[in-house]
Symmetry: C2
Subunit: 664 residues, 2 copies
């Protein structure tokens, strides 16, 4: 096979320093180096190969993931990887596995909800994987409304134990990853009952399986919830179902940082504020935003490279056809997604900072920024995961028919990504939470309470309600202050309008229910403003590397202006811009697309993804698409024989008109 870079010509057109952009994308030189090294390590290890995941049976797929997980743990120990490196290693293996929940939910929950003693007992076991844990909250009948959970944990003062029980079918735990087949332990959420009184939902550490032979402990029924969306994808995860039949655990396995049950069965609340749990949620959700930028950038990388390889139409008399990336419709669909990938990366960087800031304040007993941080993280989780899920599917469509093949990598990327719109908070429920926060902020505006954090723009609400956009020419739309003000004005006006309309209802609750669709739109406007503003702030920093800042400025403008166009209804309805100004947005966008075009391949190269991680024939670094597509096709089991299994029983009798006689 020839070793040609079919995209070399594209790469030769690059107008910026790709190596420098790689560091900007990674966050820092340090982070770049780790991810570069670890991703290559994974890519070069035969155990981590991804091939033919789409044709494996459920059992083969699952066993294969167990194999990779064990191998990863072996390598992490052999190479004495740091925590950060180990995290990256698991990430680049790129298969959902029970370890995601063990490291990402089980351990953090104990850290967040356990007492000092409990941490000392459980963390050493979990950190060395002598126990494996999962996070068992959701039930068959109860998801978003955690307060509605039915599982009970009843204190028995006689034995100093809790009795865990599943009173109904709908109280079965359902969905927890890692539960179905692997976890030995779980953090289980259940209604705490002492002396006949229900104290609401609390967390408990529960052992599920024998550490000797892995069989479920007495009174415990566990299984897998069955196949989920897609080939490979999330089916390597054992999302599980779990029922308790009066299962006893020692009292000290209730997570007691926030509330306690004494030996006598007394329920006490500690002075630790309940909001502490929000800290963990901010952590998990900022990580989800970070992942959104990964998933979207992968899809964009595939679609961009393939769009430069694919040619269609535009040739006079049989000459070479036009690269589809040169069509403005293709650019108009693709480049805003490219810009979004960068935008989400930068907003997630900021969220990481926000989380650190919140944590430090909590340690100093300063809870003042928590509600805003919590609301804004919830909103950004919703915004970025929805946009990423839709964006991956758009990238697939951008690849025409070939995007529908598993070998394109896009079907699996979509299938594995989409539950991010649902887990850790259904995206609509999260936007409604943010909307409540927005309405509260608006209602307090008169009271002298100054909005802080990402919502501080509301402090200038009077200006924002009546400011007029000053754009007069196409170029004016490149001014960050103008763009920012338009987004602020739109967000502020939508929130204020909602608040005004709410006040017309006899009860806020009734109004909130009735106007919830408008409230969701106001919340989205607020989130988009945050992403735009963090991108703009990023560009106010020093960014080294020839042409790097210029490219990012183009992307920032594309991100903002494509949103402005897509949501021009909001901007026009609130009078933030005029129809003439809206049409100038379109003209500016076309010019921005032309500026990105020669740099498009380099901008996706800057993600620094290995072909292993991309897992896509269409997205190959060398653009050698067609021979590889052809090669992949022949690997399908259906091609094992020329004449298919079933020919004699089912095809031949049709052709030979023998069906009346045949017994099928």
């Amino acid at each position: 096979m020839e070793e040609v870079d079919h995209l070399a010509h594209e790469r030769s057109k690059t107008q910026f320093d790709v190596a420098a952009m790689k560091i900007v994308w990674a966050g820092s030189k340090h982070e770049f180096e780790i991810s570069d090294r670890v991703s290559r390590l994974v890519a070069s290890d035969p155990v981590f190969r991804k091939d033919n995941r789409a044709v494996l049976s459920r059992k083969e797929l699952f066993k294969n993931t167990l194999r990779k997980t064990a191998h990863a743990w072996k390598r992490i120990n052999e190479l004495r990887l740091t925590e950060e490196e180990a995290w990256e290693l698991r990430f680049y293996i790129d298969e959902p596995a029970f370890t995601d929940l063990h490291w990402g939910m089980f351990i953090p929950s104990i850290k967040g909800l356990g007492t000092e003693e409990q941490l000392q007992k459980w963390l050493p076991l979990a950190n060395t994987m002598r126990i494996i844990g999962c996070y068992a909250q959701t039930e068959l009948g109860h998801g978003s409304n955690v307060q509605g959970l039915e599982t009970t944990a009843t204190f028995d003062p006689k034995t100093d134990e809790f009795i865990l029980h599943s009173p109904t079918l709908t109280s079965s735990k359902w969905w927890p990853g890692g539960l179905g087949k692997v976890s030995t332990h779980a953090v289980v959420y259940a209604r705490l009952i002492t002396d006949g009184q229900d104290h609401g939902v609390n967390g408990f550490i529960v052992q599920l399986r024998s550490l000797d032979d892995h069989s479920p402990l007495p009174g415990i029924t566990i299984g897998d919830v069955g196949m989920k969306f897609g080939n490979g994808a999330y089916n390597s995860m054992d999302n599980g179902v779990l029922q308790f039949d009066h299962v006893r655990i020692p009292r000290d396995q209730m997570l007691m940082r926030v509330s306690q049950v004494t030996r006598e069965g007394k329920y006490l609340r500690s002075d630790v504020p309940r909001q502490l749990v929000y800290g963990t949620m901010v952590f998990v959700r900022q990580y989800i935003v970070f992942n959104a930028s990964y998933a979207l950038s992968r899809a964009v990388c595939i679609a961009t490279r393939y769009s430069a390889v694919r040619r269609q139409f535009g040739s006079q008399d049989g000459g070479i056809e036009t690269q589809v990336i040169d069509y403005k419709t293709q650019q108009n669909r693709l480049f805003p997604l490219l810009a979004s990938a960068y935008a989400f990366r930068f907003v997630s960087e900021w969220l990481k900072w926000l989380y650190t800031d919140v944590t430090q304040r909590l340690q100093a007993n300063d809870f003042s920024t928590l509600p805003e941080a919590h609301a804004c993280t919830a909103g950004l989780k919703s915004l970025t995961t929805t946009a990423t899920a839709d964006g991956i599917e758009e990238c697939r469509k951008l690849c025409g028919g070939h995007g529908y093949l598993c070998s394109s990598g896009l079907p699996e990327l979509f299938a594995v990504y989409i539950p991010a719109c649902t887990y850790e908070g259904d995206n609509i429920v999260l936007l409604l939470q943010l909307a409540r926060f927005l309405m509260k902020t608006v209602s307090q505006l008169g009271s002298g309470k100054k909005p802080i954090g990402a919502i501080s723009y509301m402090g200038q609400v009077e200006h924002l309600m009546q400011c007029r956009c000053s754009v007069q020419s196409v170029e004016d739309w490149l001014k960050p202050s103008i763009v920012l003000e338009a987004f602020q004005a739109r967000a502020a006006r939508m929130s204020v309008t909602c608040a005004e309309n709410l006040s017309k209802f006899s009860s806020i609750e009734e109004g909130f229910m009735e106007l919830s669709a408008d409230l969701v739109e106001a919340a989205i406007a607020h989130c988009q403003l945050i992403v735009v503003s963090k991108f703009i702030e990023k560009l106010q920093q020093d960014i080294p590397g020839k042409g790097v800042k210029e490219q990012l400025e183009v992307l920032c403008n594309i991100y903002a202006l494509s949103l402005l166009h897509k949501h021009q209804g909001d901007f026009l309805a609130t009078g933030c811009i005029t129809p003439e100004q809206a049409s100038l947005v379109n003209a500016q966008l076309r010019s921005l697309y032309s500026q990105v075009r020669p740099n498009a391949i380099a901008l996706v190269d800057a993600f620094n993804y290995t072909d292993h991680f991309l897992g896509s024939v269409l997205g190959r670094y060398d653009g050698n698409v067609y021979p590889k597509l052809y090669e992949e096709a022949w690997k399908d089991p259906l091609n094992d024989s020329v004449v298919p299994d079933g020919y004699h029983e089912y095809i031949r009798p049709i052709l030979k008109q023998q069906l009346r006689m045949a017994r099928l």
Copy 2:
């Protein structure tokens, strides 16, 4: 298992005659009866059972489909089904299979492109399935641009044969359904070459496999292109790859209705106009629109029923929670999709009429309506398939976490549906075609040529450019004439603006490339207007049944007003409505949602889908969701054993800290 209708209370609230609505949905009493009878026939036949398709291997899945196909053919003959009934039977089996292409593309292509003689020779063979055919147009390197195909058919006057050849890798046929493993014949599109001259792409009937033992004929390489998106889904279809190495076929296997090659190798064009082929495209695409209404209504049926079963939040002290269908955000996402399903059904009914009309005119040598019919069908194919693909995924999200399980039916429905956005014309390419037609229409407005058909509103362009929407109250938005005029004005203004902007470019072609994103938006506006207007026209007919027409009026208004809200940017930017009028749309929508709410379940019951066809635990008629979800889970192969395969090799060594020693 108890036999309770968990949705009985919902059904008792219905305000219209469901039986009458079923007939409206089906199109007529006759069509209702056939589809009712045939769908039950399929549902009750054990061979057609759908269970566990998600866990079958590719080979098992494929063989199972062959089995169903053979059984279907047997039943069709035994029961002496009419053509219409046979079509329905295959439809309700609900698995993509080679027969789709045999009946839907191979036979129609021969009918469309063959001479009288050729029909007489080939149709009897195909109609009795003594041969099985597919449609081989697309190549590895060439899809949308059919004129770019590379396969050659070179006439050899010495032997009176064509030599079919694949000169390059990219010229391999790629994608044709039924090709990979089953078809004995194909209509192959190839460049016709006589005497060294290239006459462009023509169709040929080519035998691919031996009728004795099914092996590919000499010079022919065939295989399957490999796994496609999703579990089950389109993987029951053998989309194929095909290469010719100088394969000879008799001259009379060129489809010669439109052009001929004589015994001497002379290329002739018959006097049959080339536009004839458009007729076939109109036929295929109207069928795709029809299917869109099926696919979308299925998803909506599942999401609606489950939304009435699912409860979340809203209970004071542990009482029963609120049905999620009562949340306005849920309604705002779901009910416009319900309305779209009905809208697409009615527009497809109209397209069926249009096709008949066009065909009759063609027979009378009247080609006048063909370009408009062709453009409008292309646009509607694009509009409805895009909306349906997005709508299915939205329905899945509306079901929260459980929608992600294969047992919900929604993942497979999505995966099997989405290629409709790509095949039979990429949706963006189709909109650009329609846009060309729109621009041509606008450019001819001055010339006295009156626009006909669905674009006749352009005849009133002067009025539409300056009319002002008269809405003053929420109720005004219920007036069909007002809604219609707003949509007409928006579509006309967007087209005219595009045309004006185009004229500023030095060449139309350059302008068309540059402005293509705007042109696509104009084309969408035109298509939405057509769907709205056909829904309104439908309501001007007599519609029997208590309350039926009233419900349809509500749905029609929801369809139109939800689009108006979603695209309010267009309406505001073009000055068709004012911001105040836009906000009245929202208020009216909320009231319409309340009117649909009590009838929602009955409106999806009216689709008359069997549980077999729906294939969804969440969408069950009786709403008995939870026990069935639970039951399904245990069927997963991973649940065959309590301790999973791989425990001893890969889990135990981790827990027992033995990994350094273990060989994985």
